[in-house]
């Protein structure tokens, strides 16, 4: 697991020169990428020792991050510059920009790597974007303040939340029509899909819960409520969600309640609440699946949580208002 070449990196980062450099990161390095909204950078941490190895300058207000399917590119939504920047993962620098995308916050990449699916918060639209042609293919009207986007692994269906309409829209990606409007909890934010594709979990920020949608019937079949000790209900604001590698556990970041909930997927019971930093939103799994990385937007750091021990090992400063975290795992 050792990556000797990384020893060179602190020096390079310190010079802040983003010159074309030799391929230092290969796909599956386990390196950690964190966007910070107020610094306009993506911070890179070594996947093994979590030392900061680089900061990649991007456009204004970087938020959502997603790798291309081959992990050679990292896409960064930069809301205040109306662009999605494209980082060459090996070079560690922005090599291209998709511009003219209105205030992008969250997007998903299709399994073919050719399309982006973007929620346009201010326009109440869902945009299908052709990366190669650098233009929108189509736009679909959705409820106000669309947020989370998830595309199924077969590339046939997208799910989009509307924070204001309290619903999940199911969009057919062949016809670009809405197939179902599924009413969930209040202010739905983000998704995770079970490995078998049968259940879609969606976080409800203002209801303090997760709704579980049966993807066959498009019905909410279960709801998981969170109430960690010592927090007012209004502070329990679930946003980020991730399943463990084996699919047995779900990890839900609880925002202002400064905890990550550990949920047993089979029984749908909350097993534990683990303390992290202030306003925990983003969540990612380490390369070996043993640790969680959680971005804390109001304490400017990232928590490292041991999944077996169910406790925070350390927190690492990662720039101002860290939004999202992704890990360069082996290509999926």
């Amino acid at each position: 697991m050792s990556i000797p070449s990384n020893r060179l990196l602190p020096g390079i980062a310190a010079t802040a020169l983003l010159v074309a450099s030799p391929a230092l990161w290969a796909a599956g390095t386990g390196n950690v990428y964190v966007s910070s909204e107020d610094d306009d950078v993506v911070t890179v941490l070594d996947g093994e020792n979590l030392e900061k190895t680089d900061t990649i300058e991007v456009s204004e207000r970087p938020r959502w991050l997603a790798f291309s399917p081959d992990h050679e590119r990292l896409y960064v939504a930069c809301g205040d510059d109306d662009s999605i920047d494209i980082i060459d993962v090996d070079k560690g620098e922005v090599v291209d920009r998709l511009t003219g995308i209105d205030d992008p916050e969250i997007f998903a990449i299709g399994p073919d790597g050719k399309h982006l699916y973007i929620s346009n918060e201010d326009d109440a639209r869902f945009t299908v974007y052709d990366i190669g042609a650098k233009k929108a293919v189509t736009q679909v009207d959705v409820g106000q303040e669309p947020e989370g986007v998830l595309v199924t692994p077969d590339g046939k269906t997208a799910y989009v939340t509307s924070e204001v309409a309290n619903m999940v829209h199911r969009v057919n990606l062949d016809s670009h029509e809405i197939e179902a409007n599924i009413v969930v909890g209040n202010r739905p934010r983000r998704f995770a899909l079970t490995e078998d594709g049968a259940h879609l979990w969606v976080t409800n920020e203002l209801s303090g819960s997760v709704s579980i949608i049966d993807t066959e019937s498009n019905e909410v079949t279960d709801t998981i409520e969170f109430d960690p000790d010592g927090f007012r209900p209004e502070d329990v604001t679930p946003v980020g969600i991730k399943f463990s590698d084996d699919g047995s556990q779900a990890f839900v970041t609880l925002g202002r309640a400064n905890h990550v909930a550990f949920v047993d997927v089979a029984s749908r019971e909350v097993q534990d609440y683990v303390l992290v930093g202030d306003r925990a939103w983003g969540v990612a799994l380490s390369n070996d699946g043993g640790r969680l990385y959680v971005t804390n937007g109001l304490s400017d750091d990232m928590s490292v949580v041991d999944i077996d021990e169910r406790k925070q090992l350390r927190s690492i400063p990662v720039g101002r208002v860290p939004h999202s975290v992704v890990v360069d795992t082996a290509s999926e």
Partner: protein
């Protein structure tokens, strides 16, 4: 179980829509499962004065803090627009029936007419006396009136009505929010200045209650008048009105806004001004950015070409309350919606970060209050450390023990 019924309906809509799509090969990009014809109309009534002095262009141009900067109907329109998808899912199409009338008689006639057409929920942008008169007139009828503009405490107290809900916060709530802030800063000694209007005296009374409730000390109370008459300078000059004693802060009760806006930075001592100028307690402020506020502000600006105020927010959240009830109950009957809105399950997102609901004892929407200086929100009340056994939001305004409202509590729910 309720949820299951709702989803049953979704399933039917889906089938219908898919059949429709099969026919309409060139489907519209905005097609969203239901066609307009399938939806049952659901109208809200909106009533304001056609010749309202608050909306004279000369006054609007001043942009007084805490006062409307345009008719709040703009907020209702934004809410109707937001309700499109929830409406489709519930099988209804929400709309707004906007009326401007000239006097109380016409208000009553307009409501009767809309009621006869099936409208059950009305937004009133009217002065407190008229609100009270209208609520009394329709007492016992199955309609609900939302007060979106009148802040007078008495509407939540002795003059309350079962058919009347308030989305605009009362003066008591606003003053409690300010009082919490003053206590948190240890600005305990307050000089109270009140204007010549009857409404100014009412506002000053409300502040005195808040001061007592939170342990502030009103060191003196002085009346101001408007004008530059040198013979009245002891009463019209902010410097002279604030000399000769010590205090931590000046509270100004000025519903007209003329005096208070020139008092800021013009008092004798280097002390802050709060109340009708300086730091102003409001239901909403355009500089509030959190909890989706930025997007809501943008939508209102697109609609009305101006910043959003507390009054727009109050109209917006009134419509949103009913839409939330329709979405969660999958019902459209007046009785079930009101029961749900007043029940414990009701969880309204007002973009201020708390779960809001109506106080069953007086019909007031419990909500955080924003404390804003001209172009920024300094704090949100309830402030840290102000606790209430039931709900922290009930540290603002009249809680059940203080309520003078004898609103019959419907315990149907």
């Amino acid at each position: 179980m309720r949820a299951n019924r709702r989803r049953g309906r979704d399933g039917r809509c889906l089938t219908a829509a898919l059949m429709l799509l099969a026919v309409l090969t060139a489907a519209l990009p905005s097609s969203a499962l239901a066609q307009k014809d399938d939806l049952t109309p659901f109208a809200f009534g909106y009533i304001g004065w056609d010749d309202d002095p608050r909306y004279s262009q000369a006054r609007l141009d001043q942009e007084f803090q805490g006062e409307p900067w345009g008719r709040p109907v703009a907020g209702a329109r934004v809410a109707i627009d937001e309700a499109r998808f929830p409406g489709i899912a519930a099988g209804v199409e929400f709309s707004l029936d906007e009326r401007q009338v000239g006097n109380t008689r016409e208000v009553l006639a307009a409501i009767r007419e809309m009621r006869d057409q099936g409208t059950r929920f009305f937004l009133l942008d009217l002065p407190p006396g008229t609100v009270s008169r209208v609520a009394d007139e329709f007492a016992g009828e199955d309609i609900t009136l939302f007060n979106v503009a009148a802040r007078d405490d008495r509407l939540r107290g002795a003059h309350c009505q079962t058919n009347l809900l308030h989305t605009i916060p009362s003066d008591a709530m606003r003053n409690d929010a300010l009082a919490q802030y003053l206590v948190s800063r240890q600005w305990n000694d307050v000089l109270l200045l009140a204007g010549p209007e009857r409404a100014d005296a009412v506002l000053a009374d409300s502040f005195r209650r808040s001061a007592e409730r939170f342990g502030l000390n009103v060191v003196a109370e002085r009346r101001f008048v408007l004008g530059n008459n040198p013979r009245e300078r002891e009463k019209n000059n902010p410097k002279l009105l604030t000399s000769g004693l010590d205090y931590d802060v000046v509270y100004i009760a000025d519903t007209q806004g003329e005096f208070s806006r020139r008092a800021n930075f013009a008092v004798q001592k280097p002390r802050p001004v709060v109340g009708s100028s300086g730091l102003v307690a409001q239901a909403w402020h355009w500089a509030w950015m959190r909890h989706g506020a930025r997007q809501l502000n943008n939508r209102l600006e697109d609609e009305a070409d101006r910043h959003m105020t507390a009054y727009d927010w109050a109209a917006w959240v009134a419509v949103k309350s009913v839409v939330e009830a329709v979405q969660r109950t999958d019902e459209t009957g007046h009785g079930s919606l009101v029961d749900y809105m007043l029940g414990d399950e009701f969880n309204l997102d007002g973009f201020k970060g708390y779960r809001m609901g109506y106080r069953h004892w007086n019909g007031q929407l419990r909500q955080p209050i924003l404390l804003a200086s001209g172009n920024w929100v300094i704090a949100r009340a309830p402030l840290e450390g102000f606790l209430h056994p039931d709900n922290y939001l009930d540290t603002l305004g009249f809680d059940p023990r203080e309520s003078a409202c004898e609103r019959p509590v419907e315990d149907a729910s």
